[in-house]
């Protein structure tokens, strides 16, 4: 068995950012394990621009953004194993991976950071009624084919779901020569970022059908027709609102789920994000096992992914130095009215250095609201927001001295103006 102080599973932006931060904090014995033949993760296929505005104060494409990190990893001489698929993690931190050259390899780690990203919900997961023809792909699969291999998966395309990847693929397919007939979204508002609605749909006159979903797909062997219809508040189809689209391709952009498979056999619990429950150090319920990036909760901005990964690296180093005591005053952090989830779910106040951050998403679009953060009955922070949407993660930094140790519950909720 090989030993390493810190093992990072997944070499996407989160994994690389965590490794670099850990190196900067003095740990040299780091191994990144990545199943693909290259570092960078999902950003390899995200060739559009819009990355890095916070991190580098300029707008980069996905490949440019990730190259800055992979170059740094190489420069620092941090080791990584490519084409190496991690098969399991044990609760005493033995990581097992396999690759063609070495076969099965066991690595004993002192600390682990899981940064395995997320995966897309597919046709099976959402149970589309009708035939089962070919021509139905997830938006991410279509993106991989178009941007990495140069194939268009269809010529007349309909898109279900207004998640960012779907919107970005609406533009991509249009630019590369396909006709995109429309995008249907079940909810009365878009699941994607505003800017993507403007520059991916409006720029190309692609209609967005809100409160609509696919009622039926038709096609014997290959997709021939998609029928959408409007839904009411109870998500029931409204008769007579059907619209038919003759198309050879249906792209699904119906949500991303944290890729937590490796956590399934471990004695730790998951949160509402479907990622692991973590404390303020991004540490799971197993001391020394950390998690960050899309595997913890799905992010819209890679800048926040790398920020979170650095928090996890700081946490892992504190753990390795014996500084995470898990004693003293403990808070449970819960989402209140109007909030879908909050990360982290637990805070060990004595382990907090100077400040900590809460990340959350609201349940629906709202205007002119206050975000309240309470400790028991005391409001410790009130933030006015002129506009807030579920598609954008919110982040609030709080200094440690705001916490008074008078209760064991922190709540984040929305106060709507009457």
């Amino acid at each position: 068995m090989i030993n390493h102080r810190l093992v990072i599973i997944g070499g996407g932006s989160a994994g690389m950012a965590a490794a670099i931060k850990a190196y900067e904090l003095g740990v040299r014995d780091i191994l990144i394990i990545e199943k693909n033949a290259y570092l960078g993760g999902i950003l390899n296929q995200c060739i559009h621009n819009g990355f890095g505005l916070h991190e580098f104060k300029e707008e980069l494409t996905g490949p440019e953004f990730m190259t800055r990190f992979s170059k740094k990893v190489d420069e620092l001489g941090i080791s990584y194993a490519l084409e190496s698929n991690v098969l399991s993690i044990s609760d005493d931190k033995v990581v097992t991976y396999s690759n063609a050259k070495d076969g099965l390899v066991e690595v004993k780690a002192e600390a682990i950071i899981l940064t395995t990203g997320c995966y897309e919900r597919n046709a099976g997961a959402i149970q589309i009624p009708g035939d089962r023809p070919s021509g139905i792909y997830t938006a991410g699969q279509a993106q991989l084919f178009a941007n990495c291999y140069g194939y268009l998966v269809g010529k007349r395309v309909f898109i279900l779901g207004s998640g960012d990847i779907g919107l970005i693929m609406a533009r991509r397919m249009t630019l590369e020569g396909a006709k995109v007939l429309g995008v249907a979204e079940l909810m009365p508002y878009s699941a994607g970022l505003n800017r993507n609605i403007v520059q991916c749909l409006k720029d190309y006159n692609i209609p967005l059908y809100l409160s609509h979903t696919v009622k039926k797909v038709t096609g014997e062997s290959h997709l021939e027709k998609v029928t959408i219809a409007k839904v009411d508040e109870k998500m029931q189809f409204i008769e007579g609102t059907e619209i038919d689209f003759e198309c050879d391709c249906l792209l699904l952009s119906v949500g991303l789920l944290p890729n937590v498979d490796l956590f399934n056999k471990l004695p730790l619990s998951l949160s509402k994000t479907r990622g692991a429950k973590v404390n303020q150090a991004m540490e799971t319920e197993i001391p020394g096992i950390f998690s960050a990036g899309n595997v913890l909760h799905v992010h819209d901005l890679v800048d926040y992914v790398v920020e979170e990964a650095r928090e996890a690296a700081v946490g892992a180093i504190s753990y390795l130095n014996g500084e995470l005591k898990h004693t003293g005053h403990i808070y449970d952090v819960n989402p209140g009215i109007g909030i879908n989830y909050v990360v982290p779910q637990k805070v060990f106040l004595d382990d907090v250095k100077d400040s900590l951050s809460f990340k959350f998403r609201v349940a629906k679009p709202m205007k002119d609201i206050n975000i309240l953060i309470t400790e028991g009955n005391n409001i410790i922070k009130k933030i006015f927001k002129p506009a807030i949407v579920p598609s954008e993660m919110e982040i609030v930094h709080l200094s440690k001295d705001l916490f008074k140790k008078e209760s064991n519950e922190i709540k984040v909720y929305v106060e709507e103006k009457k």
Partner: protein
Amino acid sequence: MKELICITCPRGCHLSVDDNLNVTGNFCPRGAMYAKAELTHPVRMVTSTVAIASISECRLPVKTKEPVPKELIFPVMDEIRKTVVKVPVKIGDVVIKNVCGSGVDVISTKEIKE
């Protein structure tokens, strides 16, 4: 008064622009610049991929170095589609010079060794 959504960054600020091109609702100065440009001469970044001579089933991602006039998006795409590059290529290497006479180069956004 015109309402716009700033697309310069993912924040997506809601901007209002009056007849004298005074902008409100922008979180940062880039929003005001965007609104003025959008109402006078809209521009967009174009990203895509080009073929690589020696490697099939592998594309080189590219972008316009600066945003180009919106009406040039499809002409730029036509040029990009005709282009085949040789590797090795580095980030920032010019793939098409002065594309469609726009004064803007199309450049590589990835390093490909061979």
